[in-house]
Amino acid sequence: MRALPVGDRALLIEVGTGEEAEALHAELLRRRATGDLSATEIVPAARTVLLDGLDAPSRLAERLVSWDIPPVPPRAEQVVEIPVRYDGPDLPDVAAHWGVDEAEVVRAHAGAEYRVAFCGFAPGFGYLTGLPREVPRRATPRTSVPAGSVALAGPYTGVYPRASPGGWQLIGTTDAVLWDPARVPAALLAPGTRVRFTPLETP
């Protein structure tokens, strides 16, 4: 674990793996809840957690290294189920990358359980880990990906909360509302949330 200073009020804590980043994120949230840590933002990402709004980053950096960080605890909370029509335009390409047929891509994607490792890109866009195999981004990003597109890139799967440009491989669509500022909570998927995709009949 390495704590890198970011300006005068933030620390970027770098760990070795995505699992360690998730475990560190859970530990940081626990410590903030108990009052042991004061931070405005705790932002998990692929291999790091950013802490912003710290009063004494260098003191925290010294303390951090001695922490014992348990693996991500099993969660009692329910798994969020996202119904998917596997009708995405890139389904054949993903099948070709994996050397399987399209039905097997659907089985693999819907058969796994995922966890939101981190969010970014757009409000409510979660990077979900748990994909059984990786797949490259598209060589040329699309200028507009429709809202509700279920997509893959690298080790991640995710759902576009709103129409935006994007380079991920589109394998399906969902009617689930990923982001609604009028709802509490606004984001369907927050870091740590467990997720399953359930196939709907394609017409």
Partner: protein
């Protein structure tokens, strides 16, 4: 509709509703947003007796015109420029009473970029996640104003300030940005680090509320490959593949995949909000506060 409203007659190049932003949601991919020149927004709020959290209008370069439906007290600050009420000159940087139905015009900025208009009671659009700010990156909050937009106003709560003149920093003729190196300065060559802090850059016309883009020598990376996505702070100096540093402003993305070579001192960011395209930029390295 109630009379406590402002009709937008001329929206200008880009006029948005801004308050102090929506911190605390970066982990959900929600930018902080908020007024780019926060001290100017706070000042106009103080002048009309608003709380510092009240929403104001942020204009860009050529101001805007509004018509209140009933009499209001307003204050204009930020980038200095002409202010008129029904064509008659009115003071800049001081409380001004505008009769109901009169046209308040904020003209083009004489210097600087972003003007601020506070109305007693504040702009009372519906908050999203605790803020009324327009977030251009993710589309949260009210969309940028268009001609004909009607903005609801809150009830004035305190008497406005009594002032003759207010101090304000002049928009910079040269933008000096103090930076602390890191967190990814080790992704760049020693030459790149020297170039950043010794070579003058210039504000690019491609700058916006997301980032202050610069023109100047490209910063060369010492290692190839991709940086996995990581959290970004306000003032982060990110270096995209073209090598030209971008200073992240209020609507910056919450995570990003290009290395951050340095972070700008927060006190220097209001100046970045007012620096016109072409303004020389100097990055001055300072040590981390211990």
């Amino acid at each position: 509709m109630t009379d406590d409203a402002l009709v937008v007659v001329r929206a200008g190049a880009l006029t948005t509703v801004q308050d102090r932003g929506r911190p605390g949601h970066a982990h959900l991919g929600v930018p902080r947003s908020g007024a780019l020149d926060a001290p100017a927004a706070a000042l106009v709020n103080r002048l009309v007796g608003n709380s510092p959290d009240a929403a104001v209008l942020e204009t860009t370069l050529n101001g805007c015109s509004v018509r209140p439906r009933s009499a209001v007290v307003v204050a204009v600050g930020g980038a200095p420029g002409p202010v008129t009420v029904d064509g008659r000159p009115a003071p800049w940087g001081a409380p001004v009473r505008v009769p109901g139905g009169a046209l308040l015009d904020i003209g083009p900025a004489r210097s600087g970029v972003r003007g601020y208009l506070a109305v007693a009671g504040g702009v009372a659009v519906e908050p999203v996640l605790g803020s009324r700010s327009t977030d251009l990156l993710s589309g949260l909050g009210p969309p940028p104003l268009t001609d004909g937009t009607v903005l609801p106003l809150g009830r004035p709560c305190r008497p406005h300030a009594r002032v003759d003149v207010v101090p304000h920093p002049a928009p910079p003729s040269e933008l000096v940005l103090r930076v602390t190196l890191g967190p990814r300065d080790d992704w760049f060559t020693d030459t790149a680090l020297r170039t950043l802090t010794r070579h003058p850059y210039a504000v690019s016309s491609a700058s916006n509320r997301i980032g202050l883009r610069t023109e100047g020598p490209a910063l060369e990376r010492s290692r190839p490959g991709e940086l996995p996505s990581e959290g970004m702070v306000l003032g982060a100096v990110q270096v995209p593949p073209d090598g030209r540093p971008v200073v992240f402003l209020a609507d910056h993305p919450t995570t990003g995949g290009y290395p951050v070579i340095a972070v700008v001192h927060p006190a220097d960011l209001p100046g970045a909000a007012q620096a016109t395209p072409g303004t020389p930029v100097r990055f001055v390295a300072v040590r981390h506060r211990r």
